[in-house]
Symmetry: C2
């Protein structure tokens, strides 16, 4: 695909220069870009209106229209995000380790950029600026491939970022947007091994699956969250109630929201009627296993498929379990490796849950909603990795880097 090859080549060349760029140039460029986005907000909003109109004409759901929509406040928010990225410490150049070997070789492991990062995402124009900002700060060139619904918005944002960024000293080719928004361009980008060092999909389960299935470039799976909260026999039920309400309803459309509630049988009789009433009052649809439905007949019947499903909506699956072991086994069978919580006062059960649950983030007595780069103190994130290689959990600037060994000698041979 000619566009991808050209942009790949440009990005690869830019990545060599970006890797050597000083922190102060990168930070100044990010601040200039932030200012430019605000100064040119009218232009961006006008371009965004074309996407909104097209979206309405094509029957895009209001939820998606809302994600797509840009206004002055949202652009100010995007600019603020870039300023925060500028304020973060630069991960590049850090010595991760250094040893002097018996033969006198000094071996230093140094943090370096990955090189060229491909990002495939859906109709969220804010991702365009966030992702490009994180890549610039970590010394990586980026090739963005956004959803066609946001095409005009993405073009406008990238144009402003390129103009301001390149004027401030970023190498040309640092920030690239694929203009071909067909499915073919997405697949071709996943297979652009000559130029790309990694591909990161940001989006729903379908996109992630397509990347896993088709990518030949190393990929990092992000963001599928079939998250469980398990309320143990010894839980403080008031705490459990607050956490479940928060994890399920505070923002149901995000990947760290709760999707499943497991309750120990000894707590179910008291806890389920309380919590399920609260959830129903907040408009949450409930499906449960038989023991749940015996206690709360309003609940629908959960199918096997429900236990695997990330609803991303005001819906929850509820199951009564006989022990912490049963809860752990259920979670390890059905979860997506994102965030899992136990609410308990048992030290032994807390330890067992932390040790045995296989997920990026495992909680005791807190809401799963904290799995997030800002909440973890990383300052910003490119996504939440749910795989085990390269990075796991919230991916900040450090997770957008690689390392290299530099070895200094004075003539050593083997």
């Amino acid at each position: 695909m000619r566009e991808l090859n050209e942009k790949g080549k440009l990005a690869k060349a830019a990545s060599r220069r970006l890797a050597a760029l000083s922190t102060s140039v990168k930070d100044r460029a990010l601040l200039e870009i932030a200012d430019a986005l605000e100064e040119r907000a009218d232009y961006i909003i006008n371009e965004n209106k074309k996407d909104i109109e097209a979206g309405r004409k094509n029957g895009l759901k209001e939820g998606l229209i809302d994600r797509l929509m840009l206004n002055g406040d949202r652009i100010a928010g995007i600019a603020e995000g870039l300023r925060q990225i500028a304020a973060l410490p630069d991960p590049i150049g850090e010595a991760v380790s250094r040893v002097k070997r018996p033969n006198g070789l000094k071996i230093t492991k140094v943090r370096v950029p990955l090189g060229v990062i491909g990002i495939i995402y859906e109709a969220r124009p804010n991702v365009t600026a966030d992702a490009a900002g994180l890549c610039v700060k970590s010394g990586n060139a980026v090739i963005l491939r956004g959803g066609k619904e946001a095409f005009n918005s993405n073009m406008a944002i990238v144009k402003v970022m390129q103009e301001a960024g390149y004027a401030a000293g970023l190498p040309e080719g640092s920030i690239n947007l694929v203009e071909d928004t067909t499915r073919e361009s997405s697949t071709a980008l996943m297979r652009l091994n000559e130029y790309l060092d990694v591909i990161i999909p940001r989006g729903g389960a379908g996109l992630i699956r397509a990347v896993v299935e088709n990518a030949t470039v190393p990929a990092i799976e992000t963001g599928t969250g079939n998250c469980h909260v398990y309320v143990d026999e010894s839980a403080d039920l008031d705490m459990a109630k607050n956490i479940v309400i928060n994890a399920k309803t505070q923002r149901p459309s995000v990947c760290n929201a709760e999707e499943k509630l497991l309750v120990h049988e000894a707590a179910a009789g008291e806890f389920l009627p309380i919590i399920l009433k609260e959830l129903e009052d907040r408009g949450v649809e409930i499906v449960g296993d038989e023991r749940c439905r015996a206690l709360w007949p309003n609940a629908g019947a959960a199918e096997e498929e429900d236990w695997y499903t990330e609803y991303l909506d005001l819906k929850i699956g509820v199951k009564v379990v006989g022990s912490v072991d049963e809860a752990v086994a259920h979670i390890n069978k059905y979860n997506s490796g994102h965030s899992e919580a136990i609410i308990t006062n048992s030290y032994a059960n807390a330890q067992k849950f932390l040790d045995e649950v296989d997920a990026a983030a495992v909680y005791v007595n807190a809401s799963t909603r904290f799995t997030d780069g800002f909440e973890f103190g990383f300052g910003a994130e490119i996504g939440i990795s749910t795989q085990k290689t390269h990075a796991r959990g919230p991916m900040g600037l450090k997770e957008l880097t690689s390392t290299k060994y530099i070895i200094e000698g004075n003539g050593q041979i083997r």
Copy 2:
């Protein structure tokens, strides 16, 4: 593929128990396995003889027969390798970082096993024991898929490892060998996403390409080394001579051996006749660019393809360059991201080379032959990663791990 599904399921179940296994049980199992391999050396050697005979009948080259062959000394060496792995520190359970957030959440990043590791390799039965040993120590279950030429040897080694290891407390299913040695089983293993967390190919460029092209499981590319030594204008030419001879001839069949020699034009007139004579005396075939051939008419003409080729043999490609920048550009165009060296007395050129060359290991004034887990002080390695995600350079026990975040709270919600 039924065999893979069954072994995948077993391995996944074993991986849960392995992750929780104490260091002392893992170490004792490794020591028991080492003893058992030595005690049953006759059995293993007899099985190995079947492979050697079949290999000879099928016209396997003597170099490959030699790699395939096991005797008492080699089995003692394999056992010694396992004892060394037992003596290494256990990476599992280490706290990589810990923060207490303003809201009181304690967030600890803990090192955990990857889970189930697939290893695809060729006809080197020693890899069977090495790889399984590294996986056991790092708490991972392993599914080995070795070359058909080593089938009987691998079966024998795995049988002894399983019997001794499981008797010593390793969960059944920790160590698995795929008995189907067709190409189909190899491809199916690369796509066994339900059970595998990572796939690591160990072998030649063809195998690596097949994995990159076909794997849907996260893969780590290892071991392709088109390594360069660049002799700068200011190099100590005696040092340069020793390093080039060592890097090219000490063990030409391995991935960290030198494949290309770049020489600054100001040094070429003096250096090339000296070094190329030395290399010729050691049986090295030389191909060069025009400027090299003008100085050393014996050299063959290097084709474009030569600059990309990892010979793994007594052959070298030689090029005269006009500057350190030209050397860096040539290396970044043709190298495989493994190991690159500059021989120089110029501080500025050394820094430039270290900063700008894109490879796992970049050397000043030392032989590329040091890129190796033992030489770096990791004690043992599963391979040398030439990609930038997850791990880069020699992969020891730590590189066979992932992390998870454990978050301890007392009721925090967002």
